[in-house]
Amino acid sequence: MFQIRLRQKVKPLISLRYTDEWVGLLVILSLVAFGGVIVEAGVLRDWLTPPAILRVTLPAGGVEGLTVGGDVQLLGAHAGTIRSIKLNPSGDMYVIVDLDLQAKPFIRRDSTAVIRKQFIVAGSSYLDLNRGYGAPMNWDYAVISATPAPNPGDMITATLNDIKTQIVPTLESARHMMAELDATMTAMHEGKGSVGQLLTNDALIKDAEKTIVSLNTVISQLKPIENQMATIMSKADATMGNVKSMSGDLAKTTPHLPAIAASVQDSTADLPALLTQAQTTLYSLQKLTNQLRGMWLLGGSGQPKNSKKGWLPPRRVQP
C-alpha cells in the first residue's frame, strides 16, 4: 500500500515540461467539444423549450382508467404524457397533456382523442390522438374532446341480445306449429273433418265409383253424336274446299285489279272539272232565270228586286 518514492538516478528518456498544464488544456478542449456537440444535436433546445399544453375534455363516463403520467399516442407513436386530471366547475372532467413539440403540427381543431385500453379489453388506458386536417390549433388554449373506445364486450353482448330477440319468437312459432300439426294429425286419425272422413270412411270412395260408372254411361251415349260430328266435319271440309276454290278465283282476278283501279282513277279524275262545269252552268242558268224574271214582257218589273244587291234585307235580322 505504501510506495516509497525513491530518488531515481536514471535520467528519463523523454523529459516533459509543463505536463499538468497540457493535460488541463486537453480536458478543457474536450469539454468545449462536448458542449459543441450537445448544442449541435439540439438537446439543449429540447430541454429549454417548454412542452405544448393540450386540454382534453373527458366523456361523461369519467376518466375511463386514465391516470396521471399515462401515455398519450399520436398515429401509434408516443406523443406526450398526462400531466394532471382536473375537474371544472361545471362538473366535466378534463386532462392536461404535455404534448411533444414534434406532435404539435398534427393536432388541429378537428382532431379528437379516443381513450383506449392497452390490450383492447385490458391493460392501462391511454389517450390516442387523431391527426387533424382542419384549421390550425390555437396553442394558447388548445382543447379537444375525448370519447371512449367502444367496448368489444358490450358489442358482443348487444349482438347476442339481438339474436336472442329474433330467435326466441321463431322458436315459439315453431313450437306452436308443431302443436297444431300434432292436433290436426290426431283429429284426422280420429276421423274428424273431411280429410279424416276420407281416411276413415269409404263412403266417398264409393260415391266416386258411382260417378265413374255414370260417366261411362254418358260417354257411351255420346258415341252416336261423335258419328254425327264426323259427318258435320266432312261437310265443313267440303265448304272449306269451296272457299279455297273461291280464293283461287280471287287470286286469278287480282292481277286485273290494278287495271280496273286505273280505269276508275281516270274516270274520277274528270269529276272535279265536271262538277265545276256543272256548278258554273247552274249558276249561269240561275242568272239567266233572274234576268228573264226581270223582263217586263214576262211580268217582271224590269228592275232588280233589291237595289242594294247582295245585302240581306233588314227584316232578316232576327232579334
Binding site: 256548278q279 249558276y283 240561275q286 234576268q291 226581270g294 223582263m295 217586263w296 214582257l297 217582271g300 224590269g302 228592275q303 232588280p304 237595289s307 244587291k309 247582295g310 245585302w311 240581306l312 234585307p313 233588314p314 227584316r315 232578316r316 235580322v317 232576327q318 232579334p319
Partner: protein, 288 residues
C-alpha cells in the same frame, strides 16, 4: 207580212230594253264572290244557315283577296245575320267587330246595318241596355225597313227591361213613318203597339198580336210568328181569357218546338208549360 216583221222587230227591241238592268256593284264582277253571295242567299232563304255561313265566309275571303272594303262589309253583314238566325249571337257580335275593324283599317265608313245586327245580338244575349243604345243609330236612318227593324229591337228591349221610354221612342218612330211601308215594317209597328198596350188595353193588344202573327206567317218569319202568338197569349191571360191564352201558348210552343235553335227549344218548353203541358212534337215518329 211587213206588219208582222215590223211588230216582231219592235217586240225584240222592247225585250232587249227590258233585259238591261242596273250595273251591279263592282265586286259582282268577281265570279267567285258573286256565286258565293248568291248561293249564300239561297241557302239563307231555305233556312240552311250553316251552308249560308260557309258561303258568306268564302265571299268574305274573296273580298279580302280583292282588298275590297264594301264587299267585305256586305259579306260580313250577311254572315252575322246568318249567325243570328242560327241562334249564335256571340259569334255574330265577333263577326261585326271583325268587319268594323277591317273597315277601319281601310278608312271606310262604318256601315249602319252592322249596328242593327249588333243591337239584335245584344238583345238575344239579354243585354237590353246595349241593344237599345246600338239600335238608336239605325232607327234614325231614312231607310224604312232598316229603321223599322231597329225600332222593333229597341221596343222589344225596352219592354223586356222595363224601359218604357225606349218602348215609347220605338213606337213613335214606327207610328210617324210615312206610308207606304212594307209588310215587315207594318208587322213591327203592330207588335210594338201591342206591347205598349198590353197593360192598359190587353184585349186590343191581343187583337194586334194576332194580326202580327198572321203577317209574320205570310212573310215566312215563323220564329217571329211564334213570338207574336206568345204575345197574344200573354195579353189573353192578362185580360182573363185563360182558355184562349192556353190555346195560344200551345200554338206558340208547338211552332217553336218545330224550329231549330236552342233558344227556340227553351221558349217552346217554357210556353208548353204555360199551356199546361202540351205535346210539343205531335207528328214526331214513335220512339224505338
Amino acid at each position: 207580212m211587213k206588219k208582222i216583221i215590223l211588230s216582231s222587230a219592235a217586240l225584240m227591241s222592247l225585250a232587249a230594253c227590258g233585259s238591261t238592268s242596273q250595273p251591279a256593284p263592282i265586286a259582282f264582277d268577281d265570279p267567285v264572290y258573286a256565286q258565293a253571295m248568291d248561293t249564300g242567299e239561297s241557302a239563307f232563304d231555305l233556312k240552311r244557315y250553316k251552308v249560308a255561313m260557309s258561303e258568306y265566309r268564302t265571299a268574305g275571303q274573296q273580298a279580302l283577296k280583292r282588298d275590297d272594303g264594301p264587299a267585305m262589309a256586305e259579306a260580313g253583314y250577311n254572315l252575322a245575320v246568318s249567325q243570328l238566325a242560327a241562334g249564335q249571337p256571340q259569334d255574330a257580335l265577333k263577326t261585326v267587330q271583325d268587319v268594323s275593324q277591317t273597315l277601319l283599317i281601310r278608312h271606310d265608313t262604318s256601315v249602319v246595318s252592322l249596328k242593327l245586327v249588333q243591337a239584335a245580338a245584344y238583345y238575344q244575349l239579354k243585354n237590353y241596355t246595349q241593344a237599345i243604345e246600338d239600335a238608336a243609330a239605325p232607327m234614325a236612318e231614312a231607310d224604312k225597313d232598316l229603321a223599322g227593324r231597329a225600332a222593333l229591337i229597341m221596343g222589344l228591349a225596352g219592354y223586356d227591361s222595363g224601359d218604357n221610354a225606349a218602348l215609347q221612342r220605338a213606337y213613335t218612330r214606327l207610328h210617324n213613318m210615312k206610308k207606304p211601308v212594307s209588310v215587315s215594317v207594318l208587322a213591327d209597328k203592330k207588335e210594338i203597339e201591342a206591347l205598349s198596350l198590353i197593360k192598359t188595353n190587353p184585349a186590343q193588344a191581343m187583337s194586334l198580336a194576332r194580326e202580327v202573327a198572321d203577317l209574320r206567317r205570310d212573310e215566312g218569319s215563323y220564329n217571329e210568328m211564334s213570338r207574336a202568338l206568345a204575345l197574344a197569349a200573354r195579353a189573353a191571360s192578362i185580360s182573363g181569357d185563360h182558355a184562349g191564352a192556353a190555346s195560344l201558348w200551345a200554338r206558340a210552343a208547338q211552332s217553336a218546338a218545330a224550329q231549330s235553335g236552342s233558344q227556340m227549344q227553351k221558349d217552346a218548353d217554357q210556353w208548353g208549360q204555360l199551356a199546361g203541358g202540351v205535346l210539343l212534337h205531335p207528328l214526331a215518329p214513335p220512339a224505338q
